[in-house]
């Protein structure tokens, strides 16, 4: 990692930050962070970033979070969609955004984005060009 805060404050530096890929393109928000208990050392480690509307709904909790998570489930073409999980080893730096070492193409396309692309946006002429 080229640039990291010291110490890392999970709520301040990670949660709700924008995740961008190696080219600076947005990938998603850090909707939650995965912590794993290392059985060997008995210590809690920060292992991955979690991203997705369902994850966000679960984190917000209560009626609002349930509504958000429910909408996410309805809009998803897949039953029980898994959240986007980005291992911390793929994080290049943590600054005003969280920058990854990989390009967005290396990550799975969010199902809703792909579905809209196939069924709706992609069918409108000119969808493939950034405009003139």
């Amino acid at each position: 990692m080229t640039d990291q805060p010291d110490p890392l404050r999970i709520d301040f530096h990670l949660l709700d930050r924008q995740i961008v890929d190696a080219a600076g393109e947005p990938v998603g928000k850090v909707d939650d962070v995965e912590l794993t208990l290392n059985p060997a050392t008995g210590r809690l480690q920060v292992t991955a970033l979690l991203s997705g509307q369902q994850v966000l709904g679960e984190r917000i909790g209560g009626r609002l979070g349930g509504l958000l998570a429910g909408i996410a489930r309805r809009l998803h073409p897949v039953e029980h969609p898994p959240p986007l999980r980005i291992d911390l080893t793929h994080v290049a730096s943590i600054g005003s955004a969280v920058t990854l070492t990989v390009h967005r193409d290396a990550l799975p396309t969010p199902p809703l984005e792909r579905w809209l692309g196939d069924q709706f946006i992609g069918k409108i002429p000119g969808a493939g060009h950034a405009g003139q």
Binding site: P5, D16, Q18, P26, I60, L116, G128
Partner: protein
């Protein structure tokens, strides 16, 4: 010529804040009812949006973060969702009003009912948002919108008593026939319009669309300090023309045609042609600004890819939100609700959203983790805090005033 183009983002943003369909008629109405006694509010509004747009532009240039990223990062997902709901509603109502405004401008030129033009206007706006490059949109509508400078020429041509106008502008009280309630309501409306959140959403997202980096700080500042004062000048000219022509007659203004009339009186048919062109460009430009902002806010809350710098296929959720917003706008207009009234209702939501938008901006503008050494100096902080207080006062006063005065009657 390149220099002129460099500030078109600021001009286009300012058009949405100072001379969109709501403001065009509101400025004229204010001039007709209050003379120049609310001119000072326009000036206060210009300074306020300059202070905060400069901060947003700085944050966009140095950290690449548009305003709604900051809103979610600093306020947390729940408060940010409240802001998103309010902001989206304001932007949607305004978008509907602007589509109506474009249709009204065409009606002025063609005498065909504006309702028939609504779908045409909406389609044209969507095609522009879908196909035309951000830079091109910004340049064309920023520059053609400046046709509204004809109001300045018309005001001079009307040969008003400048001393009387200036004297009126220093009288900070309602004239005979008006009371403090309506005076306060119009003051709050004008200020809220000058500092509407979608201006900073659009400006900062536009800066990111343009690929601003730390080297573009000067460009960002030029955009702010040329664009918004220019918007304010146009606002004041419209107010002045109405004050000179309508106030002595005690006439109420509530249509676009009445707003244009002083120019016709001063400059004849040529003036009318130019002013209608200006109306068209300003409302179309404001429609583009609010159409894009409806997508920017939602996409930036959830972290989706957004913007025109990538092909639509790469930002399908963003473009879907924009299309849905345009369609909702058309549906709203086809209920034959007055487009100009729509912007007055959006004031309610605007009031709530203003503090939730500007407070995170002020805090981030002081944070070295975002801006390295380009954090706020004492002047920016002093002005920032003064305006935050004004914003909170306006937010608290807006809804009671709206109810008390029956939306300004």
């Amino acid at each position: 010529m390149k220099r002129v183009f460099a500030v078109t983002l600021g001009i286009l943003t300012a058009i949405g804040g100072f001379v969109d369909i709501g403001d065009l008629v509101a400025n004229s109405e204010t001039g007709a009812r209050f003379g120049m006694r609310l001119a000072v509010v326009v000036v206060i509004g210009v300074i306020g949006i300059c202070v905060y747009a400069e901060m947003c532009g700085r944050v966009a240039a140095i950290s690449g973060r548009p305003v709604f990223d900051l809103v979610r990062e600093r306020l947390g997902p729940k408060a940010a969702l409240a802001n998103l709901t309010g902001s989206y509603l304001v932007t949607l109502l305004t978008l509907a009003a602007e589509i109506g405004g474009v249709a009204l401008a065409i009606q002025l030129a063609s005498s065909v009912s504006y309702l028939l033009w609504v779908p045409v206007a909406a389609f044209a706006i969507w095609v522009a948002l879908w196909r035309v490059k951000f830079e091109t949109l910004e340049r064309v509508f920023g520059l053609v919108g400046l046709a509204l400078v004809v109001f300045v020429i018309a005001l001079i041509q009307l040969q008003p008593d400048w001393a009387a106008l200036a004297g009126d502008a220093t009288q900070l009280s309602p004239p005979d026939g008006e009371d403090w309630g309506t005076y306060g309501f119009y003051a709050v409306s004008l200020f809220a319009a000058a500092m509407t959140p979608y201006e900073v959403f659009f400006f900062s997202s536009g800066g990111v669309e343009e690929g601003w980096t730390a080297k573009d700080l000067l460009t960002s500042r030029m955009n702010v300090f040329v664009g918004f004062p220019l918007g304010g000048v146009l606002s004041l000219a419209i107010m002045g023309c109405a004050a000179v022509v309508y106030q002595p007659l005690g006439v109420q203004v509530d249509t676009l045609a009445q707003t244009a009339l002083p120019v016709g009186i001063a400059l004849g048919k040529i003036g009318l042609v130019v002013v209608i062109l200006g109306f068209f460009a300003a409302t179309f430009g404001a429609a583009l600004e609010t159409g894009l902002s409806s997508g920017y806010t939602v996409a930036q809350y959830f972290g989706w890819q957004w913007g025109k710098r990538v092909a639509p296929r790469q930002a399908t959720r963003f473009h879907t939100v924009v299309i849905i917003s345009v369609l909702l706008g058309v549906a709203l207009l086809l209920t034959t609700i007055d487009p100009i009234q729509l912007t007055e209702y959006s004031l309610v939501f605007s009031a709530v959203v203003l503090p939730l938008t500007y407070l995170p901006i002020l805090v981030v503008a002081n944070d070295r983790a975002y801006l390295d050494d380009k954090v706020n100096g004492p002047l920016a902080n002093t002005l920032g805090i003064i305006y935050l207080v004004i914003i909170v006062v306006v937010a608290v006063a807006a809804i009671p005033l709206m109810i008390l005065t029956g939306v300004g009657q």
